[in-house]
């Protein structure tokens, strides 16, 4: 199994699990859910800003992937394929949510983070970061998370998103500039 700081887009043995599921062992799908849940959930939470929407998008992605599993052309790269589905679900959810009033509850941030030893200041700072992140354009937020949080290279980002490398670099650059401006205000 590939272990990295970033997204686990490929795991040894995924093709075997996919074959088991396609062979009728639907319970084996739980292996794939377990493999990809953790880091994909982080991406979804950061993209959508709250756990409820993130869980909904992630569950939807897993279910859609299951139902379309026979169309997964490269089971070895199930993770990449699943991530593309998740990214689309996050965009859809983000668009839908954009029509609602955006609310951000401080307690939600504390709840989201698995670490429990953060002092109040650290929690507040993370809240400000997430708030600033949500103020970015959706495509900029996506590019920033893939590049700086999930540690993907631009070529891989391009393959995942279908967007050209130059455009992705520009999105990341603008996201960084915007975040810097937003968060510098908080710090001052």
């Amino acid at each position: 199994m590939t272990l990295s700081q970033g997204l686990p887009l490929q795991n040894d043995g995924d093709a075997d699990v996919v074959a088991r599921v396609l062979g009728g062992d639907s319970g084996a799908y739980a292996i794939l859910v377990g493999r990809y849940r953790a880091q994909f959930s982080r991406y979804a939470v950061r993209m959508l800003g709250n756990r409820e929407d993130a869980e909904e998008a992630l569950q939807d992605a897993f279910v859609r992937a299951y139902r379309s599993l026979a169309r997964c052309d490269d089971p070895e790269r199930f993770g990449s394929w699943l991530f593309r589905i998740l990214a689309n679900r996050c965009r859809t959810a983000g668009t839908r949510r954009g029509r609602r009033e955006k609310t951000f509850v401080r307690d939600e941030i504390a709840l989201l983070d698995a670490s429990h030893d953060h002092p109040e200041d650290a929690t507040a700072w993370r809240e400000e970061i997430q708030r600033a992140l949500l103020m970015l354009e959706e495509d900029q937020r996506e590019a920033f998370l893939l590049k700086h949080v999930e540690d993907l290279g631009y070529e891989e980002m391009a393959a995942l998103t279908g967007v050209g490398v130059s455009a992705l670099k520009m999105r990341v650059k603008r996201a960084c500039e915007r975040l810097r401006a937003l968060l510098k205000e908080v710090q001052e």
Partner: protein, 203 residues
């Protein structure tokens, strides 16, 4: 040209955002429960067919509930591959924008792993696009676009489905969803009607 340069401020932000998050402890169970009633996505090349006949039903726009959007559908004729026992057309046209569709997990697990080729047909001469949406494709209109197969506006698609019960609708021009007038209907979770087809295993 955009160059990446190390930026300690951005790195600090990224480090915070890399903190793991926790999901509901029941998340995995919920996912597995959600897929259990679904169609088994088995990749099987062996399929079966049987002869079927077509019936033609005509209806006018006035029967479609009087929605403005339905006016464009005057003369739409629906024709479905399949079985007798069709029910009368009901007011089933709805504006897509009003729908908040979710998968209807009412497809029972098929006892067989074999796929059956199931054809869906509708005649809509004035339509410019047609999609089949149902619980077999998560009501996603992008996944099963139908093909115009005749001069008189017949649209068709054939899907390999595992035996079971499915609910579905046709989506016209990406705007309007209607039921199949040749099939029984069931109430959806949203208070509207869906067409129902039961796919049987056929030797």
């Amino acid at each position: 040209m955009v160059h990446d340069e190390y930026d300690p401020f951005i790195d600090e932000i990224a480090r915070e955002l890399r903190q793991p998050v926790t999901l509901d402890a029941q998340f995995d169970s919920r996912v597995m429960a959600a897929i259990e009633p679904a169609v088994i996505p088995i990749r099987v090349h062996q399929t079966s067919r049987r002869a079927w006949y077509r019936r033609t039903f005509a209806f006018s726009a006035s029967q479609l509930g009087g929605m403005a959007a339905a006016a464009a559908l005057v003369g739409v004729v629906a024709m479905s591959a399949l079985r007798e026992g069709a029910v009368p057309l009901r007011d089933t046209v709805r504006a897509t924008g009003e729908l908040q569709l979710q998968p209807v997990a009412n497809v029972t697990r098929a006892p067989s792993t074999r796929l059956v080729q199931q054809q869906f047909i509708i005649i809509a001469p004035s339509a410019t696009s047609m999609s089949l949406v149902g619980d077999f494709n998560d009501w996603d209109e992008t996944r099963n676009p139908m093909r115009r197969v005749s001069e008189d506006g017949a649209w068709s698609i054939t899907l390999p489905l595992t035996p079971g019960r499915y609910e579905y609708q046709f989506e016209i021009d990406g705007k309007i969803r209607i039921t199949d007038p040749t099939r029984p209907q069931a109430s959806s979770d949203f208070g509207s009607a869906n067409s129902v087809v039961t796919v049987d295993f056929r030797e």
